[in-house]
Assembly symmetry: C2
Homo-oligomer: 257 residues x 2
């Protein structure tokens, strides 16, 4: 299915994960919040570009993306998470009824782009083939604060065969707007991860021969969700994990080299 068809399917109210669909198209994390908080959140993203790489920011009240033809951000995501005063309130397949003219939409880069690139480069991602989620950990590293937005850095974990570490760095270097290079390689404890087999979110990944693999950690798009909770703003909306906004851009459009 093409990106536009996927958006149209979501618009009918169908609730599905977008991982692996419209392959080669850039999918994005989504954050929507009132204009009163938009400048601070933009600064948070600019100061923390690895977990929060900005792909597009809409004008206040705008719901059509410039990188997704005939799109409507109020309907074109399969599932939305609505937060009130920083606390998760409800899920919905549509936010037309709560849309406000002062809402600002942020599209943030997502790791699907570089995961395609890792696979193309011969790096095994078993959670892909097993229909599981990548393991995610809350680290001891602080993000850079902006206004009321702050919190710890969340990372995704991938166990990489030792002879593929260089390739994994090179592949992800090409996509600075999709989390880019890893933030840590090796000893998990150094970034506050006590047990590398017990993720805070997602599914555990236990390599068969751990001594042949090194854990590599990349900044994760869940980071801004924690910062949103910390900011306790009146209302904010995100996509549901794995149910992303699919744009018309191709992965290679985002590559720097």
């Amino acid at each position: 299915m093409e990106a536009k068809e996927l958006r149209e399917l979501a618009r009918t109210g169908k609730n599905f994960t977008t991982s692996g669909l419209a392959k080669g198209h850039v999918q994005t994390n989504v954050v929507i919040l009132p204009k009163a908080h938009a400048f601070d959140f933009t600064l948070f993203c600019i100061r923390n570009p690895k977990p929060c790489p900005i792909v597009e920011v809409f004008d206040p009240g705008e719901f059509v993306s410039s990188i997704a033809e005939d799109s409507d951000i109020r309907t074109d995501i399969p599932e939305y998470k609505i937060f009130r005063n920083g606390i998760f309130s409800e899920l919905s397949t549509d936010i037309k009824n709560i849309w406000r003219s002062d809402f600002v939409v942020f599209l943030l880069g997502c790791s699907f782009t570089f995961e395609n690139e890792l696979v193309k480069n011969g790096i095994e991602l078993p959670y892909f083939t097993n229909k599981k989620n990548v393991p995610m950990f809350i680290t001891s590293l602080d993000t850079k604060k902006a206004g009321n937005f702050s919190g710890k850095l969340v990372v995704t974990q991938r166990w990489i065969k030792k002879d593929k570490i260089v390739k994994a760095v090179q592949s992800t270097s090409r996509f600075p707007n999709q989390h880019g290079t890893p933030i840590h390689i090796g000893n998990s404890e150094e970034i506050g991860i006590k047990d590398p087999y017990k993720p805070d979110f997602g599914d555990p990944w236990i390599p068969k021969n751990p001594k042949d693999y090194t854990p590599m950690y990349w900044a994760c798009g869940v980071t801004p969700q924690l910062a949103l909770e910390a900011a306790k703003i009146d209302i904010s909306i995100t996509h549901s994990p794995g149910k992303m906004f699919v744009t018309d851009l191709k992965d290679e459009d985002m590559a720097v080299i």
Copy 2:
């Protein structure tokens, strides 16, 4: 001289061009404007990352840069340009007396970083050695609007020997936050430049054997200055051309590969 010493020299009121000083340190374009316009200007930069690559945005009222130790943006630039209602009003070596607690400071990437890289890669930049300015042209290309910020794209021009075109693309690819890759190679008319020897700003560059050289065009930091004029905001401040804010960052800190 080190970056910090240069800032201290500017702080004493000395008025000098920073080009070629504190070599290897990242120098930045500076825009300062009231918070009421800061979100729109941030969007303008995000939508036009080649002419307006964001290096740092300060908190409102903040005058110390996080990438320049003990700095004070109100005194540490050799010369400031002050605009009122979008019109150039006066020059000053200090803005302490007009500083406001709602001012937001933007540091934007500058081409000095990639010029060092071009020279290292054997590309001749005669204006460097002749103490002239790079030629700059207002193109026919529109920037992407944000709020009241809009205008044409301004570019710098460099005549590159035909066997160095690839190298020039590669070298500047490494620095997406310092204008990055060229926006046009060759036929100047295609981007609205009628006479490639008559720049709108800076000094003309006439290659000795024009048929051995191709003009290459890069997005230029003068673009946001035109957008600032178009926005006609009550007060805004920039650095004077060639008299930049010198940070403690090294050029290589900005390289993506």
